[in-house]
């Protein structure tokens, strides 16, 4: 009753603490105010908030946009590692699996860096050690010259099977393998009890949203049917295998129309049309939908993993918003364009 294969379910402490952490996130009203600041003011603002330690630590090494970028990345990694530190047993197990997303992200970054011949220093600066792979490990892998060395470095990790066949060249297959590996591990990590069924639905919805983004991008680029099917991740909540096959074979116009059949239409109805100029609005709306959904389900089962997943998504979103504003200000983009990229 109280124990299962992953240890006991101690959610009271971690969920209350995560709610405390969530209350310290930057409120949505603050982002429009930040639009009126220049880069130095933004740096000072985040240096006086939860990011103080990171800004102070990195201020000697970096300045300007690099300082903001690195402080945000370091804070994200530190926050996620804190979640792992303060949790135990089942919550710890599930958070570990969920945060493998960042390992996947780092492996992709490293391989992309090698593919485009980026200098190791640039790749090393782009990694975010928020998953299971430590910062030092990632830095040493990013410094490796050949793809074979990188494959050897990942030999004892779960990711080896996804990258072992890679021989250089286009990365889409290996990136796709990594995504599929991540979601199949995540789906199998969640149990089958009532509270966990909702966690399972949450992950399945996340897969749906990811597949929708892929579908929009690939259909818009008019990719061949087989290639699109390869890029989609199985296991979605609403978009089952049959739905995916049907959607892939539709023309762009019919594809847009058939979106009305799914609950995601409520989020997409205002931003998609047959002659939509860009996909930016669609992606932002789907991100907003993901946040709204995670916030809703976290209230259904307060003593479950869902409030923690909700926090992980919100923290990442806050970092993305801050980065968007800082980068936008540095590139002297207009407020309207920056605002369109914000997910609030």
């Amino acid at each position: 009753m109280f124990f299962n294969r992953r240890g006991s379910k101690k959610y009271a402490y971690i969920t209350a603490r995560v709610r405390g952490m969530k209350s310290k996130l930057i409120q949505r009203e603050v982002f429009p105010k930040m639009m009126n600041m220049d880069l130095a003011e933004i740096t000072r603002f985040i240096g006086e908030s939860e990011y103080k330690q990171d800004v102070d630590e990195l201020a000697q090494k970096y300045s300007g946009i690099d300082l903001v970028e690195h402080a945000l990345n370091q804070n994200l990694a530190r926050t996620y590692r804190k979640l792992l530190r303060i949790s135990q047993d089942e919550p710890n197990y599930l958070i570990t699996e969920y945060l493998r997303h960042w390992d996947i992200w780092n492996i992709k970054t490293i391989l992309r860096g090698k593919y485009y011949g980026a200098p190791p220093e640039e790749v090393q600066e782009a990694v975010v050690a928020a998953g299971q792979l430590g910062y030092r490990q990632l830095i040493s892998i990013a410094g490796m010259e050949s793809i074979d060395d990188i494959k050897v470095a990942f030999e004892n990790t779960p990711y080896h099977s996804a990258i072992s066949d890679y021989q250089g060249g286009m990365l889409s297959t290996v990136e796709n393998n990594l995504d599929k590996l991540y979601y199949s591990r995540l789906l199998s990590s969640v149990g089958k009890s009532k509270g966990e069924m909702l966690s399972l639905k949450f992950i399945r919805t996340e897969i749906d949203l990811k597949n929708l983004k892929t579908l929009f991008r690939t259909k818009n680029a008019d990719l061949p049917r087989d290639e699109i099917m390869e890029l989609l991740i199985p296991g979605g909540a609403e978009l089952k295998d049959g739905d995916l096959r049907r959607l892939v074979s539709l023309s762009w116009q019919d594809f847009i129309k058939s979106m009305e059949d799914y609950s995601y239409w409520s989020a997409l109805s205002e931003v998609i049309s047959e002659d939509m100029p860009s996909l930016m609005g669609m992606e932002a709306e789907l991100d907003k939908y993901a946040m709204k959904y995670s916030s809703e389900v976290s209230h259904y089962y307060p003593l479950s993993i869902l409030p923690i997943f909700d926090y992980i998504i919100r923290k990442n979103n806050e970092i993305n918003n801050l980065r968007t504003i800082a980068r936008g200000k540095e590139s002297a983009l207009s407020d309207d364009i920056i605002k369109k990229h914000l997910v609030m």
Partner: protein, 92 residues
């Protein structure tokens, strides 16, 4: 068949009465013990999660210490009910 072997002495009856009274007292004591003990276990189970949540909350926000403490001791009232029942049993 209903005949009892020999007659019972009046003193033996008194003795049996005393034993019965003592037995009852013992049962009352067990009842009082159960009232406090079970109520204590119940509130302990309730306080376990509330206490853990309260510690989690004020680990992040120290100002929640007072509220957390109050929330944690609310199930304590159940033990007081148990205690009242035990006192009623023992002294009334």
């Amino acid at each position: 068949m209903l005949e009892v072997a020999g007659t019972i002495e009046p003193s033996s009856i008194e003795l049996l009465k005393d034993v019965a009274v003592e037995n009852n007292r013992g049962l009352v004591a067990i009842g009082a013990g159960l009232a406090v003990g079970l109520a204590g276990i119940g509130s302990g189970i309730a306080e376990k999660d509330i206490g853990a949540a309260a510690v989690g909350a004020f680990a992040e926000r120290e100002e929640l210490f007072g509220k957390g403490l109050i929330m944690t001791v609310i199930p304590e009232t159940i033990v007081i009910f148990g205690l009242v029942v035990a006192i009623l049993l023992l002294f009334l």
